[in-house]
C-alpha cells in the first residue's frame, strides 16, 4: 500500500488497530506496527505479547461493564428528565462482591504472568555469550572466546549523518536506528547477553528480541534471546543516560549459522591483525624514514620530489598535510573521488600508510610534529 495512505489509515484506525493488528517482524520498519507491541521473533516475545493482549482484553471488558453502567446512569438518571434521587448509600453484598471478584480476575492474570516471568529468567544453557557494555553514548560488544586472544570486541556507534538530524538532508528509513557496526547473532540459537555499564546506567532494549535490561556500572546483568527468524532488528537505549541518550541505537543482525560463523572469523582475523600491528610500534623518526621510501615509490610521481605538486596537488604547506591528521589519513585511505587521487586504503598496508602520512606531515617544510602508528590506521579503517 502507498505509505501515505497507510499512515493515514493507521492514524484513523489507531485504536482499532491496537486491538487487532498482528505486527509482523519489523526487519522492514514499514511493516512494524505503529500502535501496538510487536510479538517479535522469539517465542518469549510471543508469550509476552499474548499476556499483553490478554490484559488489554480483560481491561476492555471491565471498562465496558463499568462505563456502560455509568453512562446509563448519566443518561437515564438525569435531573432534567425529572429523575428523583434515591437515598440508599450502602449495600454490603455489592461491596463485598466487588472487593472479592477482582482477586479472581487478578489471579487469572497472575498465572500466565508468573509462567512467562520464569521464562524470562531462564538463562541456563546458552549456546553463546555476548558482553554488552553501555557507554556515553555508544555500545560495546564483546564475543567471549576460549582465550582472551580469541575474543572479539568492537564499538557500535550511531551512523545517521548529522545533516539528517539537523534537517539539511532528507531522513532515511532507519533514521537514528542505524549503526556503523551492528552486533551479529545466529538464528535459532540461545544467546546470553551479559549487560553492564561503563559510566552511567543505560538500558539495552531490542523490542523484537524481547530483551530489555539495565546496563549498570559495576554490575553484570544477564538476559537472553533466541531469535527464530533471520533479519535485522533495531532498538534503542531505554534509560536516560545524558545528552545523547536518544542517539545510541542498537542494531542486531540475526543470520544463518554459517553466515554468522563467517562474520565472526572475519572479525577475529581483523582483531588478530590489529594485535599484530599493535606490536609494530616505531618511533616518529623511524616512521619518517619508512615513509620517505613509501613516498618515493608511490606518491612522488604525482606530487613531486619536494612535495611541490604536479599531476597531484602540492603537499608542501597544503591544507590537508597541515590540518587535522584524521582528515589527512582520510584523504590517503579513501582518495579524492573524481580526481586522480586514488584510495590507497586497499593498496598500501597499514604500516605504510601510517609512515607516509607521518612523513608528509614532517617533510617539505611541513612541521606538524605529529605521527601515526599502523594500529591507528587499522582503527580508522575499521570505524567505517
Amino acid at each position: 500500500m502507498h505509505s501515505k495512505a497507510k499512515r493515514l489509515l493507521s492514524l484513523l484506525l489507531g485504536p482499532v488497530l491496537l486491538l487487532t493488528a498482528h505486527a509482523s517482524a519489523w526487519a522492514d520498519l514499514a511493516d512494524r506496527s505503529t500502535v501496538n507491541m510487536s510479538p517479535g521473533v522469539t517465542l518469549l516475545g510471543k508469550d509476552i505479547y499474548d499476556l499483553h493482549m490478554l490484559v488489554i482484553w480483560i481491561s476492555v471488558g471491565i471498562g465496558i461493564v463499568v462505563f456502560a453502567l455509568m453512562f446509563y446512569s448519566l443518561i437515564a438518571h438525569r435531573k432534567s428528565l425529572g429523575h428523583q434521587a434515591e437515598h440508599w448509600h450502602e449495600h454490603l453484598g455489592a461491596e463485598l462482591a466487588w472487593t472479592i471478584i477482582p482477586f479472581f480476575i487478578l489471579a487469572f492474570m497472575a498465572w500466565p504472568a508468573i509462567k512467562t516471568l520464569l521464562k524470562v529468567y531462564d538463562t541456563d544453557e546458552p549456546e553463546m555469550n555476548v558482553v554488552v557494555t553501555g557507554y556515553q553514548w555508544k555500545w560495546k560488544y564483546e564475543y567471549l572466546g576460549q582465550t582472551p586472544a580469541d575474543s572479539v570486541s568492537f564499538f557500535s556507534n550511531l551512523a545517521t549523518p548529522r545533516a539528517e538530524i539537523e534537517g539539511k538532508q532528507p531522513k532515511s528509513e532507519f533514521y537514528l536506528l542505524e549503526v556503523d557496526e551492528p552486533i551479529h547473532i545466529p538464528v535459532h540459537t540461545k544467546v546470553r547477553f551479559l549487560i553492564t555499564g561503563n559510566d552511567v546506567i543505560h538500558s539495552w532494549w531490542v523490542p523484537e528480541l524481547a530483551v530489555k535490561k539495565d546496563a549498570i556500572p559495576g554490575i553484570v546483568n544477564e538476559a537472553w534471546t533466541k531469535a527464530e527468524k533471520v533479519g535485522i532488528y533495531r532498538g534503542q537505549c531505554a534509560e536516560l543516560c545524558g545528552k545523547d541518550h536518544g542517539f545510541m541505537p542498537i542494531v542486531v543482525v540475526v543470520e544463518e549459522k554459517a553466515d554468522y560463523d563467517k562474520w565472526l572469523s572475519g572479525k577475529k582475523a581483523e582483531a588478530r591483525k590489529l594485535r599484530e600491528l599493535m606490536a609494530q610500534s616505531f618511533s616518529k623518526e623511524e616512521m619518517i624514514a619508512k615513509g620517505e621510501k613509501v613516498y618515493t615509490n608511490t606518491c612522488m610521481a604525482c606530487h613531486g620530489a619536494k612535495g611541490e605538486g604536479g599531476v597531484g596537488k602540492p603537499i608542501a604547506g597544503s591544507k590537508v598535510a597541515t590540518g587535522a591528521i584524521e582528515e589527512h589519513l582520510n584523504v590517503v585511505v579513501n582518495g579524492r573521488p573524481g580526481t586522480a587521487m586514488q584510495a590507497f586504503g586497499g593498496i598500501l598496508n597499514e604500516l605504510d600508510i601510517a609512515a607516509v602520512v607521518t612523513y608528509q606531515r614532517n617533510a617539505f617544510g611541513n612541521n606538524m610534529g605529529d605521527s601515526l602508528q599502523a594500529v591507528d590506521v587499522a582503527k580508522f579503517k575499521s570505524k567505517k
Binding site: L29, M70, W98, L177, K212, P217, K243
Partner: protein, 517 residues
C-alpha cells in the same frame, strides 16, 4: 478575633489566616503549573516532528527534568495543600489551622525553593538534566554543578511539605467541631489525613536520598558509587521507597475531591463511605510495599520480581472499590452536569484508563517491553493529569463561589472542560501507541515511524496548554466581575459544613464551633 485582615503586603507576608494562606498556595501552584506547562510546550514543540529543530539534547533533558520536578513538587502537591488549607477548617468546623505561624512558614519556603530551582536554568552547565527521578550516577558523578542547588531546593520543599502535613494532622485530630467524629468527616478530610501521614513518612526519605547524593558528590562517600563499595541500584530503592507513596500523595486528595463533588451533583449520598475510607487506607499501606515495580529491569532476583508484581496487582482491588463506589453513587441519582461534575466524570473515565495501563505495567514480564517507553509516559499522565489536575480543576470550579461569593461563567467553564478533555486525550492517548511500538521516553528525536503520533500528541498538548489560559481568565473574571452569589449553599445537592457559612466565606469562620449531629 473580630478584626479583619491586615492591609497591604503584610497581609500576605505575615499571613496566618488559613484562607489567605490557602489562596496563596493555590495561586503559587497555578503559577508553577504554567511554568511547568511552558517546559512541556518546549518538549512537545521539539517532538512535533523528527529531527532537532528548536533545542539541543542537553537543553531538552533539562526541560524534561524541570517539567517533572515543577509539576510534581510545585504545581500538584501545593495545589492540594492550598485546597486543604482552605477547606479542611471549613469542613470540620475549625476556626483556623492548628498551627497558623508554621502554616505561614511552610508556604513561604516554597517560592524560595522554586526560585532556587528555576535559577539553575541560568547557571553554567545548565539546570538539572538527569530526569525527575535523578538516578545515580547520572545525578552524582555525571551531574552539572547545579545539582547542589537542586538538592538544596528539594530539602526546602520537603521541609515545607512536612510542616504542612504536621499542621493538617494536628488540625484534623484536635480541632474538629463537637460531634464531628472521625467517621463523620468528609472524605476529602479523610484522604488528606492519610496523605499527610504518607508525606511525613516519605518526604524525609527523599531528603535522605538527596543528602546521600550530596555526600557522594562533595564529601567523598560512596553510597551509590560502585567504585567505593556502593551500589547505584540502592539509589533507586531509596528513591522509589519515597517515589511510590508520592504517587498516592498526589492522587489521594484527588479521590477526596471527587468523592465530595459526585454526590453533590448526583443529589445522592456517597455510596460506601466507610469502604472508601478503608480503601484509601489500604492504598496508602500498599504504597509502601510495592516500590520496586519501578525497577523490574535492574536485574532483581526472580523472587523479588514476583513479590513486587503480586503486591502491585493487589492495588487494583481498593482502587477498583473506589471506582465502583463513585459509579454507584451516580446510579439512580438526579444528575446535573455543571463544570465540576464534568471534570469528575472525565476523571473517572480517564483515571480508570490510567489504572488499566497501570495494571498492565504491574505485570513484570510485559513490563520488560513497556519499561521506560512512552507507554509509561502515557500511563502516568493519565493518572497525574486526568487524575490530579482534572480533579483540581473540578475543585476550583466547585468551591470558587464559596471563596469569592461570585459565580463563574458556566459556559466558559464547560468550554474549558471540553477543550481540556479533547486536548488531553489527543496528547496522551497516542503516547500509548508510540511506546508500544518501541519509542523510549526522554529522547529529543525519533525515527519516522513514530512521527505521525508524535505530531498528534504535540497538537493535543498545545490545545490542552492553551485551554488553561481560558481557565485563568474565567477565574479572574469571576473574582472581579462574576455574578454575585451570596447564598451559603451554591449547589442544591451539596452537604457539609462549608456550605453553612456565608459566601464569600468571611475572614474568620467557626469562631464558635458548630454542633454536628
Amino acid at each position: 478575633m473580630a478584626h479583619g485582615p491586615a492591609k497591604g503586603l503584610s497581609r500576605w507576608l505575615f499571613a496566618t489566616n488559613h484562607k489567605d494562606i490557602g489562596s496563596m498556595y493555590l495561586w503559587f501552584s497555578f503559577a508553577m503549573f504554567i511554568l511547568g506547562g511552558a517546559f512541556a510546550m518546549v518538549i512537545r514543540a521539539e517532538l512535533f516532528k523528527p529531527g532537532l529543530q528548536l533545542v539541543q539534547p542537553e537543553f531538552f533533558n533539562q526541560m524534561t527534568t524541570m517539567h517533572g520536578l515543577v509539576m510534581v513538587f510545585g504545581a500538584i502537591m501545593p495545589s492540594f495543600v492550598g485546597l486543604a488549607n482552605w477547606m479542611i477548617p471549613l469542613m470540620i468546623g475549625a476556626p483556623d489551622m492548628a498551627l497558623p505561624r508554621m502554616n505561614n512558614f511552610s508556604f513561604w519556603l516554597l517560592p524560595f525553593a522554586f526560585c532556587i530551582l528555576a535559577s539553575t536554568l541560568f547557571m553554567p552547565g545548565g539546570a538539572p538534566n538527569f530526569g525527575w527521578t535523578f538516578y545515580a550516577p547520572l545525578s552524582t558523578t555525571y551531574a552539572p554543578p547545579s545539582v547542589t542547588f537542586f538538592i538544596f531546593a528539594v530539602h526546602v520543599m520537603g521541609a515545607s511539605s512536612i510542616m504542612g502535613s504536621i499542621n493538617i494532622i494536628a488540625t484534623v485530630l484536635n480541632l474538629r467541631a463537637p460531634g464531628m467524629t472521625l467517621m463523620k468527616m468528609p472524605l476529602f478530610v479523610w484522604t488528606w489525613l492519610i496523605t499527610a501521614f504518607l508525606l511525613i513518612a516519605v518526604m524525609p526519605v527523599l531528603a535522605g536520598a538527596v543528602t546521600m547524593m550530596l555526600m557522594d558528590i562533595h564529601f567523598g562517600t560512596s553510597f551509590f558509587s560502585a567504585a567505593g563499595g556502593g551500589d547505584p541500584v540502592l539509589f533507586q530503592h531509596v528513591f522509589w521507597f519515597f517515589g511510590h507513596p508520592e504517587v498516592y500523595i498526589i492522587i489521594l486528595p484527588a479521590f477526596g475531591v471527587v468523592s465530595e463533588i459526585i454526590p453533590t451533583f448526583s443529589r445522592k449520598p456517597l455510596f460506601g463511605y466507610s469502604s472508601m475510607v478503608y480503601a484509601t487506607a489500604s492504598i496508602a499501606f500498599l504504597s509502601f510495599i510495592v516500590w520496586a515495580h519501578h525497577m523490574y529491569v535492574v536485574g532483581m532476583p526472580v523472587a523479588g520480581e514476583m513479590y513486587f508484581m503480586i503486591a502491585t496487582m493487589l492495588i487494583a482491588v481498593p482502587t477498583g472499590v473506589k471506582v465502583f463506589n463513585w459509579v454507584t453513587t451516580m446510579f439512580r441519582g438526579s444528575i446535573t452536569f455543571e463544570t465540576p461534575m464534568l471534570f469528575c466524570i472525565a476523571f473517572i473515565v480517564l483515571f480508570t484508563t490510567g489504572g488499566f495501563s497501570g495494571l498492565m505495567l504491574s505485570l513484570a514480564p510485559s513490563d520488560f517491553q513497556y519499561h521506560d517507553s512512552y507507554f509509561v509516559v502515557a500511563h502516568f499522565h493519565y493518572v497525574m493529569v486526568a487524575g490530579a489536575v482534572f480533579s483540581m480543576s473540578a475543585a476550583v470550579y466547585y468551591w470558587l463561589p464559596k471563596w469569592t461569593g461570585r459565580m463563574y461563567s458556566e459556559a466558559m467553564g464547560k468550554t474549558h472542560f471540553w477543550i481540556s478533555f479533547i486536548g488531553f486525550n489527543l496528547t496522551f492517548f497516542p503516547q500509548h501507541f508510540v511506546g508500544l511500538a518501541g519509542m523510549p521516553r526522554r529522547i529529543p528525536d525519533y525515527n519516522l515511524i513514530f512521527a505521525d503520533w508524535n505530531m498528534v500528541s504535540s497538537i493535543g498538548a498545545f490545545i490542552y496548554g492553551s485551554s488553561q489560559i481560558l481557565f485563568l481568565f474565567n477565574v479572574i473574571r469571576t473574582i472581579v466581575a462574576g455574578k454575585p452569589n451570596a447564598a451559603a449553599k451554591t449547589w442544591d445537592g451539596a452537604t457539609g459544613l462549608e456550605w453553612t457559612v456565608p459566601s464569600p466565606a468571611p475572614f474568620h469562620t467557626f469562631s464558635v464551633p458548630p454542633q454536628v449531629k
